[in-house]
Amino acid sequence: MKTLVWVEHEGGAVKDATLSAVTAAAKLGEVHLLVAGQGIGGIADAAAKIAGVGKVHVADGAAYANALPENVAPLIVELMGHHDAFVAPATANGKNIAPRVAALLDVMQISEILSVESEDTFTRPTYAGNAIATVQSSDAKKVITVRGTAFEKAAREGGSGSVEAISGGGDAGLSSFVGAEISKSERPELTSAKVIVSGGRALLNSENFHSIIEPLADKLGAGVGASRAAVDAGYVPNDYQVGQTGKIVAPEVYIAVGISGAIQHLAGMKDSKTIIAINKDEEAPIFQVADYGLVGDLFKIVPELTSKL
């Protein structure tokens, strides 16, 4: 099988999510990449070095600058004339684009796969991760999104793919990019952080979140996450949210502070290697999945923990 992988990139670099998608795609056969954007020569060269990559298709143009699906999907559909599968990381962009491609090809997408069982059979989570379905696709071409935390990352070096420019149809004239507000953070990105410290509603306000959660995270070199309750209450921006509707993470260590552990939150973090919970409610569901739990007042425990590290 020849597989085309969507390269997710940001700030001139290939994102980790792409590397996981490459590993998943390699289980299906020959891996080709698509790099789309504007002024992306450097990214194309970096992509060609990813271990195991064959051809790298590069679509450089203003129409592809912001990954608008109306412009990008037709480009992918064209390339699918000589590929058997399209694989995208299950990022916001991947989830936006892949189903549009699938419908144009008249195939059913297989979302957020956890494993490749064979060329046509995959496992994927449903019901907020409470049920794992094994599904077999009868479509001639496969369109797949990959859950990054379920696959090892392909090595960034060692490959020697050939780079080939493609033009595509350009601007479909249906949509335009207006602007973006990207949260600035010095901390590791949530989906690739080794350690994550997450705060919930029990923090009570934004000030506490900053003064209690962040120093602990900085001590551990950790990413900072949050429950939906903390986001809805305005303690932190929405891109901090871990869960079914936020980000799916699987770090080495996940520290949940003042988070009860609703199923929607667990859906986003229960594949973490070690889970540590700090909560004053002994009956909180989070303790059912936590490897280490400490029952007590987070306002005392967390500063003490930070100072002792």
């Binding site: 999907a73 916001a92 989830k95 602007g179 929405n238």
Partner: protein, 249 residues
């Protein structure tokens, strides 16, 4: 403009799903069902656009078993004007749903279709994007803000690093994220009134759409269980654990 809002009847989001012993699926017998939470947000947004004078009519549509009528009545009680139920006793995949919706879009010619970003049962996150592809319309997915300005709609989207705004030519397809709005509760008088609002019943065959599934579910299993953890007595013990894990010096 007319707004079309597809809604899905799903297991209530507070219920912990149980996988059937024989591995054929999730046990839905005698389980509380509700409107998919993202679809409630879609209905709410449509109603707010009507209250602002942007929308003239709201049509709710659902595809599923007869009982999905209840979900449509909820949408009508919230403020939708009329409803269409496409009855299918077997589950229809997002591609099939998108094809049926494309036919309804052709018939009804809505200026906007507002869908939830994903259903909390299959967690696919596909139908809106597929509908946009099939109808050749632009898509504004994972919306946290929707502003209609003349013949364009400005959609603020929740993306991985923050927010992004796109401008779409109407007619357009929008899918809702959680923070778009706070859906209202249907009041008792409105629930009573909803009973007399029109609800048309159709079948996939009426639209000439083949909804046979492309994906075959071979098995549904419970996720691997985490082994029971331990409670530590104090911060010192926790520090020791963190050191043993190699995340603290």
């Amino acid at each position: 403009m007319k707004i079309l809002v597809p809604v899905k009847r799903v297991i209530d989001y507070n219920v912990k799903p149980r996988v059937k012993m024989d591995g054929t699926g999730v046990d839905l017998a005698n389980v509380k069902m509700s409107m998919n939470p993202f679809d409630e947000i879609a209905i709410e947004e449509a109603i707010r656009l009507k209250e602002k004078g942007v929308a003239t009519e709201i049509v709710a549509v659902s595809i599923g078993e007869q009982k999905a009528q209840e979900t449509l009545r909820t949408a009508l009680a919230m403020g939708a004007d009329r409803a269409i139920l496409i009855v299918s006793e077997t589950e229809v995949e997002p591609l099939g749903v998108a094809k049926l919706l494309a036919k309804i879009v052709e018939e009804e010619a809505p200026g906007l279709v507002i869908l939830g970003k994903q259903a909390i049962d299959d967690d696919s996150n596909q139908t809106g994007q597929m509908l946009a592809a099939l109808t050749g319309r632009p898509q504004g997915t994972f919306a946290s803000k929707v502003e209609v300005e003349g013949d364009t709609v400005k959609v603020t989207r929740e993306v991985d690093g923050g927010l992004e705004t796109v401008s779409l030519k109407t007619p357009a397809i929008v899918t809702t994220d959680l923070r778009l709005n706070e859906p209202r509760y249907a009041s008792l008088p409105n629930i009573m009134k909803a009973k007399s609002k029109p609800l048309a019943q159709k079948t996939p065959a009426d639209y000439g759409v083949d909804v046979s599934p492309r994906l075959k579910t071979l098995k549904v299993a419970e996720p691997p269980k985490r082994s029971a953890g331990i409670k530590v007595a104090d911060v010192d013990e926790l520090v020791a654990k963190l050191k043993a894990l190699g995340v603290a010096a």
